[in-house]
């Protein structure tokens, strides 16, 4: 997090009391992961599009079916959790 010193002091206080802070190693992993996030997302999204098109011949249309790029995504609220 970034912010003004007075705001960050309150955040720091809350983090110490609530224990919501990341450990140093987890924070290091998170920042290292963020560096490659964009290329991973590009790759996964492109693969999902190709795989989805390939898999679609084995599927039947249904309310819950979603394949990125091939048709609008309906009723995602049903699929959470």
């Amino acid at each position: 997090m970034l912010g003004r010193a007075d705001a960050m002091a309150r955040v720091r206080d809350a983090m110490i009391r609530a224990g919501t802070n990341l450990g140093p190693f987890d924070a290091w992993l998170a920042t290292r992961g963020a560096r490659t996030l964009a290329v991973r997302m590009e790759r996964q999204s492109a693969s999902a599009r190709r795989a989805g098109a390939h898999f679609s011949s084995a599927t039947r249309p249904s309310r819950a079916s979603t394949i990125p790029g091939s048709r609008p995504i309906p009723s995602m609220r049903w699929l959470g959790g």
Partner: protein, 91 residues
């Protein structure tokens, strides 16, 4: 940068539960998993896992049937994924 549309697929397999069983027993790369969020491709079976406590009527209303699987596509070579899917489903 290409448009990012996400890596989640929900597939209602034509072969129903039998096709899902094929995926479960024969897939080598597509890994059955309790939750998502990996660089590897993983998949779940809502009717028997996340939504198992939802009544059959409600599942039907949601579009969740015996053939529905959700796939989180990972970073593997997509050709390997497609080949694994095909061999698991015997096609």
């Amino acid at each position: 940068m290409p448009r990012i549309q996400g890596a989640m697929l929900s597939l209602d397999l034509r072969g129903g539960a039998l096709a899902v069983e094929g995926l479960m027993t024969r897939a080598r790369l597509l890994e059955f998993a309790p939750s998502f969020g990996d660089v590897a491709t993983t998949w779940t079976y809502p009717t028997r896992t996340s939504h198992r406590r939802v009544s059959a009527e409600e599942q039907a209303a949601m579009g969740i049937g015996p053939g529905l699987v959700r796939v989180s596509v990972g970073l593997e070579d997509v050709n390997d994924l497609m080949a694994d899917f095909d061999q698991a489903l015997g096609r």
